[in-house]
Amino acid sequence: MAKEMIAMLLAGGQGSRLYTLTEKLAKPAVPFGGKYRIIDFPLSNCVNSGIDTVGILTQYQPLVLNEYIGNGQPWDLDRLYGGVHVLPPYQKSSGSDWYKGTANAIYQNISFIERYDPKYVIILSGDQICKQDYSDFLKFHKEKNAEFSVAVMEVPWEEAPRFGLMVADENDKITEFQEKPKNPKSNLASMGIYIFNWDILKKYLEEDEADPNSENDFGNNIIPNLLRDNRQMYAYHFNGYWKDVGTIHSLWEANMEVLDAENSGINLFDESWKIYSRNVGMPGHKISAGAVVENSMVSDGCRIKGNVKHSILFAGVKIEPNAVVEDAVIMGGTTIKSGAVVKHCIIAENVTICENAVVGAMPSGEEDGVATVGSDLFIGENAVVGPNAIVKNNMKGGEEQW
């Protein structure tokens, strides 16, 4: 039985610009928005778009991600035929290879794709926060009679040189591709989300694999090769919320945008496009007398006795009396003890911030660094974490890091 379209989700990225946050887990497994992980977005988009077969290509630190995906049940992807499959590199009779590039990762799983005999394959990225209807994208692809389509976002011209850009004509047909050009001819940035006709993709993957000089990358190799051959290539305009959360600052910013759904467009409350996640199973959160909670998102199992403003608290966070939390992203199981001041920062899972410690600071002037504390750390009493610091090790009482 053939599937019309299956999804291949690239989730092997190390996310090195998230530093300590991705030391122990792959970027798609990074927690987001109070109860989600980044990968919940593409997975939920798939299910909401009617895609029931997803291959997840993992490579870097897959343990947390594998456990999180499990059998795919939270996303309704535990299916008899199809469903979610985690696809790490594996050993073959002729030797084994790590995934050398994005295209090689798909190449190594051609046999997985062929089991479903799909007409189309959508390539997704596991490190973006985006609510997107892929069925609308597919409709566009079919209407254009395309062999390859790429989702693009209009970006401000001055930022265009940071992106891979698609130059397209008035019919959205792609005529040129510029990777981070000095002189952009277009402001249509590739979102790294592609739909291919499977026969075309397979042909180009095989050709690319045969080329010893190739980097085996979609942007650098496959797309230029398609252009070279004048394939039917189209750019699909996407106008919704999209954010590459590749840096500490952009991850923090995206979390803060969740608190301002009206202006940012990342509405997690939308019942018609639910984002699913694996539940932690804790009782409701508790806000004590004397606590202040304003403009914040709070998850199950939290205990709040201090002051929380404009922050995101993940499951099981404890805020003790007289602690102050502002503009902060506090991940699951972390405790902020009495008198600690935690501002404009990301604190990863299961951290203890001891009495009267200071983490981060509100921006002043040009300075708007996001202080970051890695998971499972202990920040001692009166310790100070400066606004640009990225803490990777325990800090003793009174210690300072800037």
């Binding site: 539940n279 409701g284 606590a291």
Partner: protein, 380 residues
């Protein structure tokens, strides 16, 4: 092959004591009454059984059980989708002589064949009017070590008020024990004794083959109530032990106790006592985290996920998906799933069932001793 990790299977009676809370069970049964901001009462017993290694659990439903079936689904959330064992729901067998059960003995008679065919050596039985994080394994091990025929859990406390007041309706029995050196010497029905009693939790561990015999006899004699009709007459013949339980318990015996037992969880001491044991599982709705906007003012509340809080909330238990609009004031309330409190409404001592709407500007107040209950889907 034994179907669970322990040598016991579980049987749950979700309709027991329904008559004590007629309003709350109008559209459901005792087991599916919402409790503690995101749970149904059965979640506590069911999760406790799962954590005690019991993987073969039967729920013997009687009436009003649609909400429970919806809640339990396949049993996945409690890890009860098992190849062997897992979750069974036993509705009444609709033969022409069938009638709803009144007591535990007649309910068990309905599943006699099932009990006969299972392989586990012991059966653990429980009602669902108790909120408890119970270690069934500990009770089972003590029972096995004692070599007794049966063990029944009890707590030392005064009889709950709701039961004392309701005893005349003739349907709801409660039991207190004389216990000597762990042996239950005498069982009293609906005792009016003041003060601390050995109050039965109606949690039993019993040897399966013995239970099959007892229920078979009871069926032949037309007996309804296991404790009243089967155990009391044979109290000297059977070796029945008492298992004193000292953990946190909440008995739901009337609307007042339902209100009070919810509110008690606003005290961290009680909350920790109930939840510090093994985790309590429930049906997952997939709500977003709860959002508090800048006009929100909250003090001493327990709130589940999926809520949007814009108004003022104090001393309240808020279930999933509740919306409290700007300028609304909520004090000492229990708001069940998806309750909407519109702008400027002012409510106090209210229990709103699922999908209730309190219209803009409305004022409504119950009292400490008599919280007002608003039934499912009503708009005030």
């Amino acid at each position: 092959m034994v179907k669970s990790n322990t040598s016991a299977l579980g049987i749950i009676f979700p309709n027991s004591y329904d008559a004590m809370v007629p309003d709350l069970v109008n559209v459901r049964l005792m087991a599916s009454i919402p409790f503690a901001s995101r749970y149904r009462i059965i979640d506590f017993i069911l999760s406790s059984m799962t954590h005690s290694g019991i993987g073969n659990i039967s729920v013997v439903v009687n009436k009003n059980y649609h909400s429970l079936m919806d809640h339990l689904g396949s049993g996945r959330e409690w890890d009860l989708v098992r190849k062997n064992g897992g979750l069974h729901i036993f509705p009444p067998f609709a033969a022409k002589e069938a009638r709803p059960y009144i007591g535990r003995a007649s309910a068990l008679a309905n599943i006699l064949d099932f009990m006969r065919d299972e392989k586990e050596k012991y059966i653990i039985m429980s009602d669902t009017n108790i909120v408890v994080n119970f270690d069934f394994n500990d009770m089972l091990q003590k029972h096995i070590a004692s070599g007794a025929d049966m063990s029944i859990a009890y707590v030392q406390r005064p009889v709950p008020n709701g039961l004392i007041k309701a005893e005349n309706n003739g349907r709801c029995f409660y039991y207190t024990f004389d216990v000597e050196e762990d042996k239950i010497k005498k069982i009293y029905i609906n005792s009016k004794e003041d003060g601390v009693q050995n109050f039965s939790m109606n949690i039993f561990v019993v040897n399966r083959e013995l239970l099959v015999d007892l229920v078979n006899n009871a069926m032949l004699l037309g007996q309804e109530f296991f404790m009243r009709d089967v155990l009391i007459p044979q109290i000297n013949k059977l070796d029945i032990r008492g298992y004193k339980y000292e953990g946190y318990t909440a008995f739901i015996t009337d609307m007042k106790s339902y209100f009070d037992e919810n509110m008690k969880l606003l005290d961290d001491y009680n909350l920790d006592a109930l939840f510090s044991g093994s985790p309590v599982y429930t049906k997952i709705r997939g709500d977003h985290p709860t959002q508090y906007v800048d006009t929100a003012k909250v003090q001493n509340v327990m709130v589940a996920s999926g809520c949007i809080i814009e108004g003022q909330v104090e001393n309240s238990i808020i279930f999933r998906g509740v919306k409290i609009a700007k300028g609304a004031t909520v004090k000492n309330c229990i708001l069940m799933q998806d309750t909407v409190v519109e702008a400027g409404a002012n409510i106090e001592y209210l229990i709103t069932d699922k999908d209730v709407t309190i219209s803009a500007g409305k004022e409504m107040k119950g009292t400490d001793t008599f919280p007002v209950y608003i039934s499912k889907k009503q708009t005030v």
